[in-house]
């Protein structure tokens, strides 16, 4: 078994310190500190892994406060895979430090089980409905849990929902479907935004796509982001196994983080002889919703929406999957929409999954910069394609009191379709 140092040696040495990555790093932009840039993190990891000048355990922040947005790789001509390096380093550091009980609870008990996630979300809803959550926040109780407590305010009021069950009930059979897709619902929509799941299914149906909602589990990105590679692999295997039994053209999701990680299953299981090919097959079927709709030919029977719209590129869409044009094509095709390109549209919003819960201040600084860019467009509608981004952007818009509604792209599309003349 190669050590982490051996695995990473070649990629770490690829960096020639040109410093162009500084141009794409949101954390560097808000801190100005060298080691928050890709060049700096790579240099420190090199010092630890190859030169043995530093202990990995001294590098908790350089390893964990990276957004892993991969904004750096776009600027890196030799193509240093910083995101991958960071993930590997997290895995290594975790092994050295060991798991905390909260991490074990989260990644081994909660996330692999959609039912458990649903139950947890109901508990939070209870706290919302009884006013306990607001009380905890107002009395400063939440601050006792550090950054997670500060970030708690970002999680919106939990709606009433019946979870995945309810979403499965939304599935309709189409008369003459042109395509068949499995809708990968993810962890967020069924519990925190069921109306978005409903919108997704409606939009797919409108485009002659017959939808099934299998019992997929968490895609595994949160676990991988923490360095819990084994948990991530277990989740991947569950999803791959499930998908094998399906007869669909594509596995579609409106969550950029999910589609990105699902596509990475091939890489994740490349070294496992039993799963490598199956993972490759699975990954080849995965589509982000914008990608899918543009591929199959977007149904243009939309009503008018008089909106000034701007788009925030989720990192997992723009930097990981290199999908930038398709969302814009979709938005520009909605009649009545004036599309305004935002400055630094593909710069991370600071959400990075659960990043805010461990690095609240940095997350906020990055969000502030994003909000500045949004405000400069004069748009009244901010669209993105990832629930974490949406949550973060909504929070930012609220903080800055901007007169901007924040929507998933499927929600805007859904609205356009429902506005069409003679639409039921």
């Amino acid at each position: 078994m190669p050590t982490a140092a051996e695995e990473l040696a070649e990629t770490l040495k690829l960096c020639n310190k040109c410093g162009l990555c500084l141009a794409g790093c949101p954390i560097y932009k808000v801190t100005g500190i060298e080691w928050t840039s890709a060049r700096g993190r790579v240099a420190l990891l090199r010092s630890a892994f190859l030169d043995e000048r530093l202990a990995l355990t001294d590098l908790n922040d350089p390893i964990f406060n990276c957004l892993t947005c991969n904004g750096c790789t776009e600027h890196c001509p030799p193509g240093v895979p910083t995101g991958d390096i960071i993930f590997r380093a997290r895995q290594e550091l975790l092994q050295k430090k060991g798991d905390s009980w909260t991490q074990r609870l989260l990644f081994q008990k909660l996330l692999p089980n959609p039912e458990m996630i649903y139950k947890a979300s109901r508990l939070l809803r209870l706290a919302d409905v009884t006013g306990l959550r607001t009380l905890a926040r107002k009395t400063g109780l939440t601050r006792l849990v550090g950054d997670a407590g500060k970030a708690e305010a970002m999680v919106p009021r939990v709606p009433s929902s019946e979870g995945l069950k309810a979403i499965k009930r939304m599935v309709k059979k189409l008369d003459k479907p042109k395509h068949h897709a499995a809708y990968f619902v993810g962890c967020y929509a069924p519990n925190f935004a069921p109306e978005r799941a409903a919108a997704t299914i409606r939009v797919l149906n409108k485009n002659q796509v017959e939808v099934t909602v299998p019992d997929f589990v968490c895609c595994g990105l949160p676990a991988a982001g923490y360095g819990e590679m084994e948990s991530a692999r277990d989740l991947a295997k569950k999803n791959i196994e499930l998908a094998e039994k399906l007869k669909v053209d594509a596995v579609v999701t409106p969550c950029a983080s999910c589609s990105s990680f699902l596509k990475d299953y091939a890489k994740l299981l490349a070294d496992d002889p039993e799963w490598a090919d199956k993972a490759k097959d699975f990954a080849s079927k995965v589509r982000d919703i914008s990608e899918f709709l543009v591929d199959i030919g977007l149904n243009a029977e939309m009503g008018e929406l008089q909106k000034k719209v701007t788009f925030h590129d989720p990192c997992h869409l723009a930097h990981y999957q290199k999908i930038k044009d398709q969302p814009r094509t979709i938005l520009k095709s909605i009649p009545g929409v004036e599309f305004i390109e935002m400055g630094e549209a593909d710069m991370c919003c600071g959400a990075a999954g659960s990043y805010a819960f461990k690095n609240y201040d940095l997350s906020q600084k990055v969000l502030e910069r994003k909000m500045d860019n949004v405000a400069k467009t004069g748009a009244d509608t901010l669209v993105s394609s990832c629930p974490a981004c949406i949550m973060q952007l909504s929070y930012g818009v609220g903080q800055q009191k901007l007169p901007v509604s924040v929507l998933e792209i499927v929600e805007l599309l859904d609205e356009a379709y429902r506005n069409a003349k003679g639409n039921g």
């Binding site: 310190k17 162009l20 500084l22 100005g32 500190i33 080691w35 001294d58 590098l59 350089p62």
Partner: protein, 472 residues
């Protein structure tokens, strides 16, 4: 390692959120874009001139070396703290203070990133001509320290022409305003001395820059040649014809191959050399310029001419050029980049010489050059794990600089001397020349606080301090 009381004093000046001194911090600030590394003792992030002054007073009192630093993207070792000390990181002094297009001036803090300024000026129809390849990361303060160049220098000139004035904090904490917002300021050109002084004379805390209207129109052309010398001759002929393109860059075959591995710019990989030309000027006369240039290229046996038909095509062509150095890094991270510059008409000869030097030393040299200025960038590749190749590469680098001097050129067109070319200074300059430079350093910074150990070869003697009381 710095004494705790000094770290405390510095913390009092900048605040605890603006000082770093852990080993991981020191390692992060021990390098730049060269392969050298030396640890500083502490890094501070001042926010204003007063803080910089206070830092300098302390450093001056305690005789601690100070290295001003922007993004650390320089290619000569300019920001490596060879004698340890304090790194003054200007990245948090990054506000654009004033834009006045009617005066053709902007006033900025030194930590503003070059490209950020360009992006603010572009919608106003203006730009700041110096456009080094590092512009999306490098700071304006850093650009001034190295007198940065870039492709646009061909038509518009170098940084020295576009810096009107600076607020500078000297070694003892005194503040002066060199140059001015207005023109023809009297007295010695201290501003001119400071530009390109590689952080050795002081630290600039405010910059007054000259901006100009963007050209009405521009067009990007790619000329593909079967012989490198033909491309060099074409460059010479174009300028002799009185045409001054916005930029003219030559890339040789190996360079194109390397670039296309990393960046999809659409460069041919089977041509001896390509000439990337940016034509700029008034819209109605641009077409004629393009035709004239095309004609000249044809006279010089061009194989193919491509004219970018859209902004996207133009960006793609330039993306390749701007990603040149980094692409080389993919196949050979510790490459040596030379910055020798020759008189423009010697360019074909120089490119030929690079081939000879590569063969003689058995190393691989790929070439990219700011052709119109005669500013070569031969990149020397070698196997870093092979001691013989390392030595051969170093000698090849020396050969390159010697060749440039022999052809009437200079050892550095835009990257600066720093550490990398210190050894070559004595090949280019005589002792009285270096002594005069040392005199200037002595005037600004007698105690050698700022960026010590750079530029002047250690064997050149320091001049004696001025004797005799002169009554002025």
């Amino acid at each position: 390692m710095m004494a705790q009381n000094l770290i405390k004093d510095l913390t009092k000046i900048v605040g605890k959120d603006n000082i770093l001194a852990d080993l991981k911090d020191l390692i992060s600030y021990s390098y730049d874009a060269t392969m050298r590394q030396e640890l500083p003792d502490v890094i501070v992030f001042p926010h204003n001139t007063e803080e910089v002054q206070a830092i300098m007073r302390l450093a001056h009192q305690e005789k601690i070396p100070v290295v001003p630093r922007g993004a650390g993207t320089n290619l000569s070792g300019g920001t490596i703290p060879v004698k340890g000390g304090i790194i003054i990181e200007i990245s948090r002094m990054n506000r654009i203070l004033e834009i006045n297009t009617a005066d053709r001036r902007v006033v900025v803090e030194p930590g503003v990133i070059n490209l950020d300024l360009q992006n603010v000026l572009a919608p106003l129809g203006y730009f700041y001509p110096p456009d080094p390849a590092s512009q999306k990361s490098s700071t304006l303060g850093g650009n001034i320290g190295e007198n940065a160049g870039g492709p646009m220098c061909l038509r518009y000139g170098v940084t020295s022409k576009y810096v009107c004035g600076m607020e500078i904090v000297l070694a003892d904490g005194e503040v002066i305003n060199a140059g001015d917002y207005v023109e023809d300021y009297p007295g010695y050109d201290l501003r001119g001395l400071f530009i390109g002084s590689e952080g050795m004379l002081g630290i600039a805390t405010k910059l007054i820059l000259h901006i100009i209207p963007k050209p009405e129109a521009s067009q990007t052309m790619l000329a593909i040649f079967d012989h490198l010398e033909d491309s060099g001759q074409a460059v010479s002929d174009i300028i002799s014809a009185g045409i001054v393109p916005g930029a003219m860059e030559i890339l040789d075959q190996k360079m194109c191959q390397v670039i296309e591995q990393s960046v999809n710019a659409g460069y041919p990989t089977d041509a001896a050399g390509i000439l990337l030309i940016e034509v700029a000027g008034l819209a109605d006369t641009l077409e004629k310029q393009v035709q004239e240039i095309s004609e000249i290229c044809r006279k010089n046996k061009v194989r193919e001419l491509r004219i970018a038909q859209s902004n996207a095509e133009r960006d793609a062509l330039w993306k390749g050029r701007r990603g040149a150095f980094g692409s080389v890094a993919r196949i050979c991270p510790p490459y040596i980049v030379c910055d020798g510059t020759v008189p423009r008409n010697k360019l074909p000869e120089a490119l030929h010489k690079m081939g000879e030097i590569a063969e003689k030393n058995k190393v691989l040299i790929v070439n990219v050059a700011h052709a119109g200025d005669g500013n070569l960038h031969p990149l020397i590749l070698f196997d870093v794990n092979n001691a013989e190749e390392r030595k051969a590469a170093k000698i090849a680098g020396e050969n390159v600089l010697d060749a440039c001097i022999d052809m009437g050129g200079t050892i550095s067109g835009e990257h600066g001397i720093g550490l990398e070319k210190m050894g070559a200074m004595s090949s280019m300059f005589d002792p009285p020349d270096i002594a005069a430079m040392r005199r200037v350093k002595h005037v600004f910074d007698a105690d050698d606080i700022f960026n010590p150990g750079k530029m002047f070869p250690p064997e050149t003697e320091k001049p004696q301090p001025a004797k005799g009381g002169a009554t002025l």
